[in-house]
């Protein structure tokens, strides 16, 4: 956008030579050239021109002429496995529908996995709640995934306190998700600044903040971008623009040219990338990260993703997909099939391997699920822990004791409580003794 404006400004000054050397002398902190043209500018342009989208693969998985396929290629094969894991997990958990909130939004596998592969494993990630792929890429195992989603006693991320997909793991440098949207954006600026101040991590790691285009409407988006640019810190913002915030289309979310148009307003290096092209995401985020860490400044990546066909929740999606593979190939912009086609064209992937992978993933996921399903919850006393560090305040202690009294009185006779107690490790006995 601003490139075009710059060109236009240049042609203006060339035409009006008398003003070419004039800068406004009275404006503090401004080198704005003087113009006699009464001209307004906007990211929405009369000619319809928009910020371009960086892409490597075409819709049938072939590199576009002039594009650069990011290396090493081993990353690409691993990416594909992680990408395949996401929809497989999604399908299982969706069919379980324990809480009606388990959904991983197909169509964003390339953005999440591609960006994860571009990061250092020690970059601090602050996600929204669709970035499970980053954790999987970093080795957060299926048992941990299932434990959090089912809230059992192995859910170290939240001790069963949060809804599904609210992961967190300091070991994987993945900050615990919270449901309020966009709160992680200014926090990321603080995390970036902390990295900059840490002699052991300065110039090595960055903060990486994911959010959706809907979250970018929150004031916290503005606050976070502003802080990360004004108080320079290595903070990489990755916005997944999938065109919808729940049901609201992006046309009702903003009028400007996406979220990328806002980056220059904060003085932040910005790129828009085809979010369904994992090689484009990998390449763009890798370069974004390099700038971010090297310059110690914020960078914004807008990843354009789309809700492709997979989101319909077929009960038998493996069979469905296998039968429809030819159809899939035709589906423009499907991130998984695009990468598969690319891999196949290089003879790095075959139908046999695909079949084997699907079967293996399905089996691993089912095993992890069954295991997690049979584990009890944490102990009931965890209801009251981790509120404050240090001595437990009297009000919490008294309320915990009050629940204890109630459990002693009703917990063995009142059926709903009796049944519920059994789900906890130790059946809430710590309150009864």
């Amino acid at each position: 956008m601003f490139r075009h404006l710059g060109r236009r400004a240049a042609s203006c000054t060339a035409r009006k030579r008398t003003y070419s050397d004039f800068k406004h002398g009275n404006l503090p902190h401004s080198h704005s050239p003087i113009t006699t043209d009464l001209e307004f500018f906007n990211s929405v342009r009369p000619d319809g021109q928009q910020i371009p989208t960086y892409r490597v693969l075409d819709s049938v998985g072939q590199p576009i002429d002039g594009s650069t396929v990011p290396e090493p290629f081993s990353y690409i094969c691993s990416s594909y496995e992680t990408m395949m894991l996401l929809p497989t997990l999604d399908t299982l958990l969706y069919s379980v529908q324990r809480q009606g909130k388990i959904s991983f939004y197909h169509g964003e596998e390339a953005t999440v996995v591609g960006s994860a592969a571009a990061l250092s494993p020690t970059d601090e990630v602050l996600g929204q709640y669709r970035e499970m792929g980053v954790l999987l890429w970093r080795g957060f195992d299926l048992d941990s995934i299932m434990s959090q989603c089912l809230g059992n006693k192995e859910d170290k991320a939240t001790k069963g306190r949060q809804m599904p997909v609210h992961f967190g793991s300091p070991q994987h440098h993945f900050h615990t998700i919270s449901s309020p949207l966009a709160t992680q954006i200014p926090q990321a600026a603080g995390v970036g600044y902390a990295l900059k101040r840490d002699p052991e991590r300065r110039g090595k790691d960055c903060a990486v903040c994911y959010f959706g285009e809907g979250a970018a409407s929150e004031g916290d988006f503005h606050a976070g971008m502003l802080l990360a640019s004004t108080i320079p810190s290595p903070t990489l913002f990755i916005v997944r623009n999938n065109g919808f915030a729940i049901s609201t289309p992006s046309s009702e979310q903003y009028y400007g040219d996406g979220i990328a148009a806002r980056g220059p307003g904060y003085g932040i290096d910005t790129i828009r990338v085809d979010g369904n092209d994992i090689l484009a995401v990998l390449g763009a985020v890798r370069e974004a990260r390099r700038r971010c860490v090297q310059q110690g400044r914020a960078v914004l990546v807008e990843s354009m993703t789309y809700r492709v066909g997979h989101h319909s929740t077929s009960d038998d999606s493996f069979a469905y997909r296998a039968r429809q593979e030819v159809e899939d190939r035709k589906k423009v912009d499907n991130p998984v099939s695009r990468l598969r086609l690319f891999l196949e064209s290089r003879k790095w992937w075959s139908d046999d391997e695909e079949t084997e992978l699907k079967a293996r993933l399905k089996s691993e996921i089912l095993t992890a699920f069954k295991r997690a399903e049979n584990l009890s919850r944490w102990e009931l006393k965890e209801l009251f822990s981790d509120v404050y560090a240090g001595d437990e305040p009297w009000n919490l202690r008294e309320q915990r004791e009050e629940l204890g009294e109630l459990l002693k009185k009703y917990g063995t006779v009142w059926e709903p409580w009796k049944k519920e107690r059994e789900k906890f490790n130790g059946s809430g006995d710590e309150f009864l003794s």
Binding site: T176, P186, V191, G192, A207, G219, S385, D386, V387
Partner: protein
């Protein structure tokens, strides 16, 4: 009475305690070093707390903003990860609390932020989540509301929601609070009550320079996020001899300022001094009030308590006092409904029900609009609980 005040001629009308002449302020070195519950935090190299004699410690006359600055200077000196930031803090802050800190510690550690309270809180949360010490300033507590989501949904809950894996114990939010007499609706508020339900947060409000320094250092080092509200009228008006060494005062511990047996007054922040004045008027009413103060209450013995930490508050000290006096008056500047006094009154009536000789009385700001803490500019004299309103509350509680 301070020694300095004592050498001045008595004002016309005799000594009426005010902030300037308050006997609650420790204006001598000896008194300052005897501050109750003071905990010296000496460097291990220098010697343990017990081995450094109190006699060798120095004090300096400071007002509250200087004491706050002193605390931050110590925190920055001793903790390499500590940073101080907020709107206008680099030039010293609009209340001068950060004067010279940017020059002393550099702009990487003491820096301005853009005008974004939610951003300041979020930025601090990010720093603290990385184990660093974030000392953030919200320029007026009236402007803390944009940060409400970050403080209540994020700072308060991070430890709990992450199963104890993450926390923001290193976060302290400083913010000037309460009225000054000309601040109107948006420079006078006392929003502490809004945070009462935010378990995970601590709320601390100091009454004086010594208190401010010790409580602020304790807040900065407390392993929980703390909102530290500084009564802004006290920045300049409250002056004490403040120990120069590093020391802390305990959180969640109220302080009995004057002991008594007939009535407990519980307050915090600026109204501490209003209450002191009211207690003075009770036994020695000025001529204008003489006819209005019943003889029967004039010799009443009043226990004055400074709550200091609002969340989690010190129920034991208050209960013990009310068990002794049987009567409780709570004073705060914030509006009444949903205020701190209501919460405390409920707990006290539950614990002291059979001992109470009067309902728990409240003297607070009025709720004179739909906003819960308005302080109408030209009406402040009648909004803020002044000495006469507190006095009236004392009489009502004693004569119930």
């Amino acid at each position: 009475m301070s020694t300095e005040a004592a050498i001045e001629p008595p004002p016309a009308g005799g000594h009426v305690p005010s902030i300037a002449t308050s006997t609650l302020l420790r204006s001598t070195r000896e008194a300052a070093l005897k501050t109750p519950s003071i905990r010296w935090c000496d460097d291990p190299q220098v010697g343990s707390s017990s081995s450094v004699l109190v006699d060798s410690r120095e004090t300096r006359k400071m007002n509250t903003y200087q004491a706050v600055r002193d605390a931050m200077s110590i925190a920055l000196n001793k903790d390499e990860t500590a940073v101080v930031f907020g709107e206008d803090v680099a030039f010293g802050g609009v209340f001068r609390c950060t004067m010279g800190l940017a020059e002393e510690f550099g702009r990487e550690r003491v820096f301005n932020t853009p005008l974004t309270e939610q951003g300041i809180a979020g930025f601090g949360i990010g720093l603290a989540a990385m184990g660093q010490t974030a000392i953030a300033e919200i320029q007026f507590s009236d402007y803390i509301y944009p940060a409400f989501d970050q403080l209540v949904n994020e700072a308060a809950k991070l430890r709990y929601r992450s199963g104890g894996q993450y926390n923001v114990g290193g976060l302290t939010i400083r913010t000037p609070t309460m009225a000054v007499g000309h601040g109107g609706l948006y420079h006078s508020q006392s929003p502490e009550g809004f945070f009462l339900g935010a378990a995970g947060l601590k709320i601390v409000i100091p009454r004086s320079p010594i208190q401010a320094k010790g409580l602020l250092l304790a807040s900065i080092r407390d392993p929980n996020p703390v909102i530290f509200m500084e009564p802004k009228i006290l920045y300049r008006s409250a002056i004490e001899q403040v120990p120069l060494d590093d020391y802390e005062l305990p959180l969640s511990q109220a302080e009995i300022l004057t002991s008594g047996s007939d009535l407990t007054i519980l307050t915090y922040g600026t109204p501490v001094y209003t209450c002191e004045t009211a207690i003075h008027h009770l036994s020695q009413p000025p001529p204008s009030l003489d006819a209005l103060i019943p003889q029967s209450v004039r010799s009443a013995s009043v226990e004055l308590i400074d709550l200091r930490t609002i969340l989690p508050w010190d129920v034991d000290t208050v209960v013990k006092s009310v068990q002794k006096t049987g009567r409780l008056l709570i004073v705060h500047e914030a509006g009444r409904t949903g205020g701190v006094a209501g919460e405390i009154a409920t707990e006290i009536q539950k614990r002291c029900f059979l001992r109470l000789e009067a309902p728990v009385h409240r003297v607070t700001g009025w709720e004179d609009s739909e906003i819960s803490t308005p302080v109408a500019l030209q009406y402040e004299k009648f909004y803020i609980p002044d000495a006469v309103r507190v006095l009236d509350g004392i009489i009502k509680a004693l004569t119930y």
